[in-house]
């Protein structure tokens, strides 16, 4: 009945473990067929605060303070008011949650992301605010995050993780004192495999909570009369990987975007009581862009500083298409100058998971400047740079010829000419900038550049 040889016994034990992990084919098959029609109630009524939960809450309050203190929270009034209004409109009327005080804030980070703290603070990054198209998409993001808070996901996940960590530690202790012989070998195998199983269940549970937040989010959007199909559109937007950084790992705490699009479409199909007309969405888009235009410019500055040039070009072009003023043209020019010798889009190979992993390794080895230098040594890099510097120059010029020209376009041109080794032109542009912006924050920097260039020109 049972295998007698030690090796067989070990193999049997391994098979047993693998069969019951969430990674097993049985578990995966079960996941795929899980119903998407039913979602739990919006609030976890039965939740009672324990000591551990209070510690998590305290940490969340301190994180709020830290984010603000470190200058990571955007203080732009109109954008914050807008996010607050959309967020508040999603909260069920009269809902009072213990130890939750709703706050909606924008984080200065060019990477598209959003997160919620269990104390009711919901954060959306400037990168995500810039990526989305309209108010309904913002509502989709906020509804997802609100569900995490309302369903107490952070506390529930933390409690579950603690149990699993304890199990892992007990297993490690058992493994360390395993006797010899066949029994000892089995114990060793089981205790070696157990942490992987536990890790898989932790991530699996996290993915379940994300799925719950996605589906519940759709319900909330419908209740607040937002176009629910925009939840799917947000996922599609997030799937556009300009910088090649969405790497699929063996363990993922979120379901894959493909999977999310699939189950959300399925859920929406089952209860599609409203599909918004394109014209209505276009109107919403214009209103959205108008409200968050300053935020989008701020994000472009952050993206350029972080070397996210491909995203910057895409977003700046969108801004110029919406409103072609001097400042937006300037940001498009800056984006092209930053793009430098890089290709405007990643190739198919670069967008594969292994391509992204290779790029991540290279990023660790090379600084942005070194990457640029290496690219400029190639024919393709030289061609890209030539094309991008021409575009940059054209947009700087257009920014300066537009109504109310922004002086920073002179600085941009100066930097472009300096790179092109047109010293005299660079000095002329820098000097115009200094003349027009006597109290600029970067005055000293530009003055030093002028001095160095003049010295070189002698």
């Amino acid at each position: 009945m049972f295998p007698r040889k030690p090796r067989n016994l070990i193999v049997a034990a391994l098979c047993f473990c693998i069969a019951f992990t969430p990674l097993s084919p049985f578990a995966l098959a079960q996941k795929k067929t899980a119903p998407v029609e039913a979602t739990p109630p919006p609030v976890r009524e039965e939740f009672k605060f324990g000591k551990v939960d209070m510690e998590v809450l305290e940490e969340a309050d301190l994180l709020d303070v830290r984010l603000e203190r470190d200058g990571l929270v955007l203080t732009d009034g109109p954008s914050n008011a807008f996010v607050r209004r959309v967020g508040q409109s999603l909260i069920p009327h009269g809902l009072e949650l213990e130890k939750v005080s709703w706050r909606f804030r924008i984080v200065r980070d060019p990477q598209p992301n959003a997160f919620a703290l269990p104390n009711g603070s919901v954060y959306v990054t400037t990168g995500l605010m810039t990526l989305i198209d309209n108010e309904s998409q913002l509502a989709a993001i906020l509804a997802h995050e609100l569900t995490h808070v309302m369903r107490r996901h952070t506390y529930v996940h933390n409690r579950s993780n603690r149990k699993k960590f304890l199990t892992m530690n007990v297993m490690a202790a058992v493994g360390a004192y395993a006797p010899g012989g066949v029994v000892g070998a089995v114990i060793m195998v089981v205790t070696t495999v157990a942490p992987f199983i536990m890790m898989a269940t932790m991530y699996g549970y996290s993915r379940d909570l994300e799925r719950e937040a996605d589906l519940k989010g759709i319900d909330m959007m419908i209740s607040a009369e937002y176009a629910p199909e925009e939840m799917v559109n947000v996922m599609k937007l997030l799937d556009r990987d300009f910088e090649g950084e969405n790497i699929r790992l063996f363990y993922n705490d979120h379901p894959s975007l493909d999977e999310r699009i699939k189950y959300l479409s399925g859920y929406l199909g089952a209860r599609a009581d409203k599909v918004t007309h394109q014209m209505e969405l276009n109107r919403e888009r214009a209103a959205y862009f108008k409200t968050v235009e300053p935020l989008m410019r701020h994000n472009l500055q952050l993206a350029i500083k972080a070397g996210r040039a491909r995203s910057a070009v895409y977003h700046a072009q969108r801004l110029v298409d919406f409103h072609e003023d001097s400042e937006n043209l300037f940001w498009l020019a800056e984006s092209y100058r930053t793009l430098g010798p890089r290709a405007p889009q990643l190739t198919e190979k670069e967008l594969t998971n292994s391509g992204k992993k290779d790029a991540a390794k290279k990023r660790e080895k090379r600084t942005l400047e070194e990457e640029e230098r290496d690219l400029l040594a190639t024919e393709a890099g030289k061609n890209n740079w030539q094309s991008h510097q021409q575009k940059a120059e054209e947009f700087y010029r257009r920014a300066l010829n537009a109504e109310n020209p922004t002086p920073v376009a002179h600085r941009g041109l100066g930097m472009l000419y300096e790179k092109l080794e047109r010293g005299a032109d660079a000095v002329a542009e820098y000097e115009k900038y200094l003349e027009l912006s006597p109290s600029a924050i970067d005055r000293e920097r530009i003055q030093k550049r002028v001095e160095a260039l003049k010295e070189k020109l002698k």
Partner: protein, 229 residues
């Protein structure tokens, strides 16, 4: 048995590591005395510690903030006492500008982010600091520091404190001890070049081991030339 032996090796390596001279990498300009660091500005430190318990890691946000301040002050103290380096005030303390000048607050935050972005490159090949490979660019001038500042100090750190349960568990089974590891970069205030990188590490409770912290910092800045005259 094998697991215990492995744990013992890990512990020995960590402990012995703390008694070795800390890794320090100095820019050739400092080595050749072409540049002397006399006055520095210490940017707000970012040190994070977690409490490792049998039930997994737990955040220690309040203790981390306290430790960050302590490290910041101690770096200034060690540099003053051992190297005669003067510390100048940091650009607009973030707390003071909470509802004031957003632009300056953002500026400081963006420089901290820029250092965070450069740090993995430095850590990947720390010895390249000696080849003058790393720079934060002339954007450092936008910080508009005191004109006398020669360098800016960026401090990052990570540490782990063990609960009593986890300490007992570690004795029985093995595992990483409590520790604090700092990553400190000194950047030229005029052109952004990374002049020194050091990453002292020491075992022990990071929230209470004040003497060990001081000693680790003293060792960490050992190669930095003392200001003469």
């Amino acid at each position: 048995m094998r697991a215990r032996l492995f744990a013992l090796v890990v512990v020995l390596l960590t402990v012995s590591g703390s008694h070795q001279v800390q890794a320090q990498f100095i820019h050739p300009k400092i080595k050749s005395n072409e540049t002397t660091i006399r006055r520095v500005v210490v940017m707000p430190a970012k040190v994070t510690v977690v409490r490792d318990s049998m039930k997994g890691p737990e955040g220690m946000a309040a203790e981390s903030d306290e430790l960050s301040l302590r490290v910041e002050k101690m770096v200034a103290e060690v540099l003053a006492n051992k190297k005669k380096v003067t510390t100048l005030p940091a650009p607009t303390p973030p707390a003071a500008s909470a509802d004031g000048d957003s632009e300056q607050k953002y500026n400081v935050a963006d420089f901290q982010t820029k250092f965070d972005a450069l740090l993995p490159n430095i850590m990947k090949k720390r010895s390249d600091v000696k080849k003058a490979r790393f720079t934060m660019g002339d954007e450092v001038l936008n910080l508009n520091l005191d004109k006398g500042a020669d360098a800016i100090i960026f401090i990052r750190g990570e540490g782990k404190k063990l609960t009593s349960g986890k300490t007992a568990f570690r004795m029985l089974v093995g595992g990483m001890p409590a520790y604090l590891r700092l990553m400190i970069g000194i950047v030229d205030a005029r052109n952004g070049e990374v002049l020194l990188y050091t990453d002292p590490i020491f075992p022990g409770d990071p929230t209470t081991a004040i003497d060990r912290l001081r000693k680790a910092l003293e060792k960490g800045f050992k190669k930095l030339p003392e200001v003469k005259g």
